[in-house]
Structures are given as C-alpha cells and as structure tokens.
Symmetry: C4
Subunit: 207 residues, 4 copies
C-alpha cells in the first residue's frame, strides 16, 4: 500500500542539475532516488542513461522492491539494486544519491589499500547528520568496484552493518553513495563529502 | 529604537548565492548578516540550516543584542554570537560574512602553528578597505576552532583588539570571518581573501 | 541526394555552449559537426572563428565532401578536412566534436613520447560506446600537431585504421577529437574523456 | 571630432560579466575600455570600483586624452593612464582589457626575475592575432608593479616599443593587460592567455 509521500522528483532533478554543473555527474554518470513508501517498497529513481544537466520531472521511474517498473518509462540503472539495498539496510533513509567526482576518484585510489577514507577535525563534518563537533572521525569505507551489482549490493549491506554510523561508501575508482532522511539531507551530505574530498585531495600534494 | 536603515537583505542573499556557486558555502555552511541599528543593536542574519544557493528575502531573521528573534521565523545560527561580537568590537562595521572554502581551509592548517596567514605584495590587497598599495602585509589571524561559541567570541574580541587593522579572522579548519562598512564592501573582502588564499595555496606546491 | 536527417544543430550549439562554460573551447577554439547524409556526404559544421559560448542555430554551415559550402554563410574551419576524414573512415559516426582543454593539453605533452594516453580501471570508461566494464584499457593515440591539415587527416585515417576500437585521438598540445553515432553520444564521450584526463592529470602530481 | 564608432559598451559589459564568472576580476578588480575616436582621442572605460559581475551599459564613462570625463558619471580608474598609453602606442588597437587571475599571478611571480613569460608550441597560440602556427614563441613581458601609474605607463610604452609583436604585458603580482582591434579580439586574447597560463602554471608542478 502506497503512502501519501510526495512523488514529485523536482528536488532530485534540481540536485542532479547542480551536481552536473559542478562536474560530479558528467557523461550521464550518477543516479538519484527517493523513497515513496517503505512497505511495500516503492522508490523513484533516475532512468538509465540520462544527461544529468537536463533532469526534470519526467526523468524518473517508479519501481518496486524487485526493481520492476510500476510507473513511468525508461530502463532502471544497473545500480538500482544498490539503492534498494541501502533503503532496506538503513532505517529512516529517504533518499540515496550517487555521484562520480574527480577528487573522490583520486582519494578512493589513494586509500583503497587501507580500506577507508578517514576525515577528522573539520568543521564541515558537522554538515553530516548527527555530527555535532569537528572533533569527529568520519569513516568512508572504500570497496572494490565490480560489474556484478548483486554481489556489490551484498558487500554494501555487510559494510553498512559493520559501520552503522557511516554516512557514505566509496566504490573504488567509481563513485560515492550517500543517503539521508530527505533529499535535502542527502544532497547536503554529497556537498559536505565533495568539499572534504577536495580538501584532502589537494593536501595530498602539500606534504 | 530602530533606525531607518534598509531591512532588505537582497544584497546579502545575492552575495550568498554567488558564494555558493563558487563553492565557498557548500552544504548549508556559512552565514551572513548586516547591521540594521547600532543602539539598541539589531541585525539581520541568515536563519540556520539553509541552502545558500537558494537564499532570498525570506531567508533572514532579525535579532537583538541577546540573539533573540525580533522579526522573522527560523533559528539563529549557533555562530550568531560571533557576528554580534564583531559588530560590538569594531566601529563602523555594517556587515559580517562567513564562508568555508577549500583553499582557506588548507591555508588555515598550514599556518595554524605560526598563528596567522600573512599576505604581502599583491595588487589585490588594495581591494581591502584602507589599503592603498600592494606593498602591504595583511595579517589573517588563525585561531583554534571550538564548539563553545561564547568562548570563541571572546577570543575573537581579544584578537581584534590586538590587531586593530585586520580585515578578517580564520577559524582553523573551519572558515573565514570578514566584515565591511557595507554588504558590498564585506563581499569584496571575501572575494579578495579567497583569491589570495588560492594564489598562496597553489604556490605552496610550486616551491 | 540528401536524406531526411534533421538539419537542426540545436544539440551541437547547446553542447558547444556547455563546453565553453567548462573552459574546454576558450578563445573561439574547437569545432563541432554532425552528419546530414552519407552519400553524397553532407555535414553541418561550426563556421570558423565563432565564440563557442554564443553558438546558436545560425552558427553552422552545410558542406559537401570537398568542404565546399552547400548552405549557409561563413568560412569552414581549416580543420574541416579532419572531420570529413573521420566520417569517411569510421562507419556509423554521426557527429565529431573537437575541444581544447587544460588537462588534455598537459597529458598530451606527458604521453607524446610514448604515443598514447592509456586509461584503465575506471568506472567512467563505461560511458564510452561499447565499453561494458571498468576492466578496460582505453588507448587515446597522441599524434604530432601540424598546420598541414591534409597531412594530418591522412595520419588520423591511418591511426584509426590501426586502432579500430578507439573513441578519440589527441593532437599534441592542441586538442581532442572524439565522435559518436549521435551528437548526444559524442558529447558524452567528450565529458568522459575530460573527466578522466583531469583524474589522470591530477594524479601525475600525487605520486 | 568624434567618429561614428558605436558607443555601446554592451560587448565590454558582457566580456566583464563572463570574466567575473571565471574568477578573473574578483573583488571589483580589472578594467575594460574601447576606443571611440582616435583624433581627438575618446575612449569608454569602466568606472572605478564596480563589481564586474554586474556590469551593464551604465557602467562606463567616456573620457578624453587627459582622462577627463566627457560623458557619464563616476571616477575613472587610476589605471586609465595605462589604457590611454596603449591606445597611443599601438596602431589599430580598438580595445584594452585588464584582468587579475590566479594562474597569471603565480606565473608572473615565477618569471619576474627572468623578465617574461614565454609560451611556445601550443595550438591555442593561433588565437592571438597574426599568429598562424603553433610553432611560435609568444613573449609576455613581466614588469614590476607600482602605484605610480604615470611611471608605469612610461615603462609600458617603452616595453611595447621594444617588443612590437607582443599581445600582452603582465604587471608582477598584479594582472594582465591585453588588447585587440575590436572588443571581440581583445576578449579572445584574454581567454587564450588565461588558458595558456593555466597550462603552464599546472605544468610547473608536474616536472
């Protein structure tokens, strides 16, 4: 049974256009979703292969827990299973956003061996939900990339369960997954992570 | 008693949208204020938690010297006490702006131990109020970040009194506070500092 | 005999304005074309010397296989022969785009001696037509720049025949040529290459 | 006697807004002019102290050969004497543009001792008027900054006479002066130089 949650994806579309402008979803990369109902699960997600600078209300399809299309036209992204896994695994998640940035890609390479990007001591960390001081260490696990999205979704579920306080996961040389209770919160998390990735990335070379 | 000073915050909102576009107030970071009256003190300041790319005339609240809301809806930022301290400590300040940039954050880390970012010999320094030649040394004190904003405000008051000619203060790994007689002047100061921070930051690595 | 293919160049003009915004076609550099008919060949291409941030439907001329103007006003770019060669040499190409970027220029210098920029292991590679996994090595041949465009066109034909699976060629210290079945695909290829060039370029200095 | 040359400064205003967007004239820095008549000399130039992102047709004043205002309101920039000197010294100059960029500032520091930024072997050099091959060496003299604009104008006149084929001059840690027969050509020269400064600046650190 569907809830009365708004199905409008204007907020997702606007976030996507802004991320495109900043160069975080070039070349049709990235995908964005929001939860419409939890039981049975319904989400709206970007159709595959769209230019993210052109997103509007028609760019989204509504799918169920099996990634079958309930409303709309297009093909769900191959990464839809990852979105669904995140909604199932974390309580209260209302939106999942996935971007590909230059600095994130570089950091994921630098910290792939050690297993995580660690970010500590920055005021901007307070932009992450529940973080109330800069004296916080945020762990962003970096996991191996794969074209087997079912396997990848399982790894992500396990990583989230091992690190219940994280706000995002990085796929090695691929991109960031983050989430929030609302689209607005998830968008803020993208911006906070991308800011901090750039700070860390540029500091790699000031040593 | 209120003066007849314009309460319109269109200029603050426009500055904020531009700073967002440049990546200096990502993820709802930053806050902006202007003085409405000095005695009793009234200022307009951004409500807490807003996306700075979306600021408009409704994004501001009017507060008094105790940070109590006089007009408008929302929550004052936790950093309001810093704004009020700056208005109280420096004569003729009409606007206070606070941003979080990548290069500023990096420089604040580099110069935290030495206590200040020093900028010398650039024509752009003439964009700072009262500076008439590039042969000028601008001191930007870097002070320890804290979540105790009352204490932070006291430190800032002391630093300003020790350095009466400065145009800005950097909170370590946090962000820049600058000010001006008008919103326009304060905005110019932000742009001048951010330009010079990028020049200095990039030169760290050309040595 | 002309086909019924759309002659509208709105998509090329929009791509060009966006590339200008990103700094990939500054100072009237770059040129963009689409195929109208293959036999006899007709293409639309940007007239020479235009500011790419101002492109609109009037910015294009229609030329035949000899680069003679069939419709429109202006001068074909000196690089028109390269566009024609690419349409002749690769089956199914519907659009050819040429940009000049900072990171591409730097990489072309770094890898000129070795003969090619090699890109391997990035998810973004999947944005290139026919690439289905990040476990792919993309070769971007770097060839010597020349002002003899006839000779350059011959070199490009030979390089394409030697490397039938490539998606682009770099002229040393000059710029990128890429192509696609549609304007949309060619534009995606530009964005993918520019993203990856920036990642590789920035990593040169993190070693 | 005035010529019938267009007095509209829409093209200068648009160039200025675009340069602001790119971060080349932050904080009210920079100034732009065009020639209205050569004998007696009349030029339109930006009034001093304006935000360059807000330029429109009202942002310019018309001055004579003594920098006295003939039409319009505002104060001529202190650097007006440099503009007038360039119009007097170089035949056919119709527009003079002055910007302050991060990469230009860094390069001017790096090459101040040697006296010039030398740029050689890039296709983008062909965007400079009269340059027909990438096999060209462009000299951009770097001269000491000064607040004595009369003296600075004399130095610039001498440097131009010594290097009659240059397209621009850099004031050390200050900014670029370039020119062209038209606003459009001068704007193209700014974009070409800024592109090449970024390429050279970034390569300083790939060595």
């Amino acid at each position: 049974m569907e809830t009365v949650a708004s199905k409008s994806c204007a907020d997702l579309a606007e976030a996507g256009r802004e991320f495109y402008r900043r160069g975080w979803v070039l070349g049709t990369s990235g995908n964005f979703s929001k939860l419409l109902a939890r039981d049975p699960m319904r989400i709206s997600i970007t159709a595959s292969g769209l230019e993210k600078g052109q997103l509007d209300a028609t760019s989204f399809i509504e799918i169920d827990d099996n990634a079958d299309i309930v409303h709309g036209f297009g093909k769900p992204s191959a990464e839809t299973s990852i979105h669904l896994t995140i909604y199932r695994t974390i309580q209260n998640v209302g939106s999942v956003l996935h971007t590909h940035s230059v600095w994130g890609t570089i950091l994921s390479d630098k910290y792939f061996e050690s297993g995580a990007i660690e970010i500590e001591g920055y005021e901007m960390l307070k932009g992450l939900s529940g973080v109330t001081t800069h004296e916080h260490t945020e762990i962003v696990p970096v996991i191996a990339n794969s074209q087997d999205y079912i396997e990848l979704a399982e790894v992500i579920e396990r990583v989230i369960n091992e690190h219940p306080n994280i706000h995002g996961i990085y796929l090695h040389r691929h991109g960031l997954y983050t989430w929030g209770e609302t689209v607005s919160e998830a968008r803020r998390h993208i911006e906070i992570f991308e800011f901090l990735f750039e700070v860390l990335g540029r500091q790699l070379r000031t040593a």
